[in-house]
Structure formats: structure tokens, C-alpha cells
Symmetry: C2
Subunit: 254 residues, 2 copies
């Protein structure tokens, strides 16, 4: 939280989201919800059209009250960014200002660097209809543009907050790209798989499915490969033994 | 668009977004808007609670009518995924099913691979309150979980559609991470910069600012480095010549 009072700086481990002249309370609330999902909780509001606090914002926040309760109100962009060292302005399109423009993903990476260096960072989002004006943007050192469908780039402000906040949390995320569900039982070991193959092949031999000796090796290998690919758990191997046993019984009864 | 009729496949260059038992028309509309921003236009709806078409969806789509107009209606998840070769289920948390779980970013990369191979892909999103049930999830070969704040993971369905769709477009995006605004004038060349430095230093010598000869070289280099860092355009160099000239006049008049 920037500074608690003039000259007294406190540490901030994340950027501040600054909504400039937001119009609809619903969007302020949805922005708060988006932020908290992404681990951001510092919000600043510059001259919200319908005043503050706002009951519609509260309802749309769906439990992200901590963001709204801590939101700080300012009259102007200049006052809202005064204690910050880096300000990023989100813009849908390049204006006539000469500016450095970064993607949302690159901005997230830069912001992590600034925050790690102990610097205070804010991200400006403009009002619903018009976006940020040049008089707002000149408070920023960097412009951020989210690459979207050039034929239809029409995010509302809460959607823009979500994407920028998501890139912030994603940049530090260490979730494995691919994993098995957490409550998964122990993966089967290869000895358990070998026993399963043997059981299946005995049953298929008895049933006559593998009666063509010339085709038998390829058929067996294809079935083994299929079952290997399923990455079965020890529990699933036991279930599958039951399946083979009962299908075999049915066959003999039938 | 999957198949136009049985056995007749048409090409699909993007995944289909499948909303399962969506409750609020607003969320269907916001999902459509999110999709089109990310270049996705194929939507399927499984048993929407309030029927279809839905006027609230239309209003919330903010112009993404093409998505709603083309949306296909199904009674069950099974029917909605019948013509697809890969189905990804978005889930907020791991259920008791043994499943492969991927991040949204990894899913996007996998889906691009499948689409490039000519395969048809759908992504399932569950209803607002409960998310997908196990009976829905078993239609999918892959589960997708978006890594978010573990203390507050509460996206609504349209926000989830936005993040997954965004990862889809971002995975193929070639926007430079950092660039100058498109309408920027020509960057100044180094000869123009050298002339500017010379003008500035003459003016500062005349004004007495550089009178301490021992400090002069470091001072001059720091000013040159600062102006280099600003990456000025040719137009800005001309403006700055004017600034130096007029500040110098003021000094002499004063």
C-alpha cells in the first residue's frame, strides 16, 4: 500500500489497480473479483461517476469485499499515482502520443521485476465508453495493449482488469503444465501391468479372440500399448482384472 | 463447425466453446463477447436454464451477435461433443476422478496442435453455481484448471471463458513484446542527436550552468545519456531545439 502518509513508505508486493472515472458499480465490483482471483488486492478509484461506496459494486464483487473495503479514492490521476514509481496505462489502441507499448504478458514480467526491486507500481484502466485520454496516459511511463482479435477488440473494463491481473499471477505461477489429479491413487507399477496383460491374454486365448496365430503378436502388442497409454492406477488395474474375469464368465455362460 | 451433417466433416480452425447448463443469459452474452475478442466464434449450449434464444444474452454480448446467432443447442453433453475428437473440461478443483490436468496455457498449446492436425476440439464450461459434474467431465479426455489465488478462486463462467479463450489467442500471437506506438514519427538518427547535444551544451556553457570545468565532462555525459534513453523522434528533436533556444532567450532577458 504505497505510502500510509507523506514520506512514510510501506512495502507493496503487488501492483495497484487504478480505475479512472469508472462509470458502472457492477464493473468496479467485477474488477475487484477479477483482481482477488489473481492475488491482487490494492485498488484505487479516480472520480467514480456514481460516488463511493457503491452498493452495486459490492454485489458484483461476489465476496471480494477486502478489495472494495481497502479501495482508496482520489480526485485526479495525478494524485492517484503520486507515490508510484512506475505507471502502466492500458490502452485499446495506439494514440498519437509517442510511447513505448508492451503486451500484457511482457508488462507482467516487467512489473514483477520492478516489484522485486522494491518499486511501487500502478496500472491505469480507463472509463467504460472512452478508455483513457491522453491527459491520463501522460502520467504513465509505459502503455499496455492486450493483443486481441483485430476485428473485434471490445473488452469491458472488468474484463481488461482480469486479463492484466491474470498475466500478473501467471508470470509467477509454478503449477506444472500437466499433472495427474491430486487425489489419484498410486500409479500401477510395471509388474502389475505385466500381470494384467497376462490375465487379459489368457482370457482372450480361451475366448478364441486370439485364434489367428499370425496376427496374435501384433494384436497383443496393440492392446498392451493401449493399456499402457491409459496410465492406470493400481486400483484401476484391480478393477480391470475384475472386468476381464466377469466378461469371461459371461462368455462361458452365454 | 464440426459436421454439417452425418459423415460430412467441414474444417474448423478453432475450438468450440460449450456452455453446459448455463443459468444466466448475461453470462452467455459475456462469454460470447469474451470469445469474439479472442477470435473464437463457435458456441454450443447444453440445456440453458432460461431457454434459447435469450434477450439478456443478446444485450450482454455487446455486439458479438455473430457468436450467439451461430450458437447450436443440445440436450445433453454427450450429444454436444459427439462429433469432436478432443474434449477439454474446465474444472475449478480436482474431483475424485483420475484425470490428466493441464493449465490453461498448456491446454492452449495442445489445442493449437490438435487443430493444426485437422482435429475437432471442444472446451466444456459448467454452470454458474456448481461447475461441471463428474457425469459431464467423463466426456472429456483432458481436464483444464486455471492456476489462480488459492485463497480466492471464484471466477464466473464468462470470466473463465475469457481466460481460456485469451490463452488460445495468446498462444498464436506474434505481437512484439515491446514496440513504439504505430503512428510515431521517424526515430531521430545519431547525427541529429549529436547536433542536439551540441546545441544544448553551447546554451548551457553560455548560461554558466557548466562553469565548473572539473564536473563538466560527467555532467555532459549524464545529460546525453538521459536524452538517448528517451528514444526521441526527429520531430521531438526539433521541438527540443526550440525549447533550448527559448529557455536561453528567457535567461538573457531576465
Amino acid at each position: 500500500m504505497g505510502r500510509t502518509s507523506k514520506g512514510q513508505a510501506t512495502e507493496s508486493a503487488a501492483p495497484t489497480i487504478i480505475l479512472v472515472r469508472p462509470q458502472l458499480g457492477e464493473n468496479i465490483g467485477m474488477a475487484a473479483r477479477a483482481m482477488l482471483n489473481c492475488g491482487l488486492s490494492e485498488m484505487r478509484l479516480v472520480a467514480p461517476r456514481d460516488g463511493w461506496p457503491n452498493e452495486r459494486a459490492r454485489r458484483a464483487a461476489s465476496g471480494a469485499d477486502v478489495v472494495l473495503d481497502g479501495a482508496r479514492l482520489f480526485d485526479s490521476v495525478g494524485e492517484a499515482v503520486a507515490d508510484l514509481q512506475h505507471v502502466v496505462a492500458t490502452t485499446a489502441r495506439a494514440r498519437d502520443l509517442v510511447q513505448r507499448i508492451v503486451t500484457a504478458r511482457h508488462a507482467a514480467s516487467e512489473i514483477h521485476g520492478w516489484i522485486a526491486a522494491g518499486e511501487r507500481v500502478g496500472i491505469l484502466f480507463g472509463p467504460e465508453r472512452t478508455g483513457l485520454e491522453n491527459d491520463d496516459i501522460v502520467h504513465a511511463d509505459t502503455a499496455l495493449s492486450i493483443p486481441l482479435n483485430p476485428q473485434f477488440s471490445s473488452l469491458n473494463v472488468a474484463q481488461a482488469v482480469l486479463l492484466v491481473s491474470y498475466e500478473w499471477i501467471a508470470a509467477a505461477d509454478e503449477t506444472p503444465a500437466e499433472r495427474m489429479s491430486e487425489h489419484a491413487a498410486r500409479p500401477a507399477d510395471k509388474d502389475e501391468m505385466r500381470n494384467l496383460f497376462a490375465h487379459l491374454e489368457r482370457a482372450l486365448d480361451q475366448s478364441g479372440f486370439l485364434r489367428h496365430q499370425a496376427m496374435r503378436p501384433a494384436m497383443v502388442n496393440n492392446l498392451r500399448a493401449l493399456l499402457q497409454r491409459a496410465a492406470m492406477t493400481e486400483q484401476e488395474v484391480r478393477t480391470f482384472h475384475g472386468v476381464i474375469k466377469f466378461l469371461g464368465k459371461q462368455k462361458h455362460d452365454g
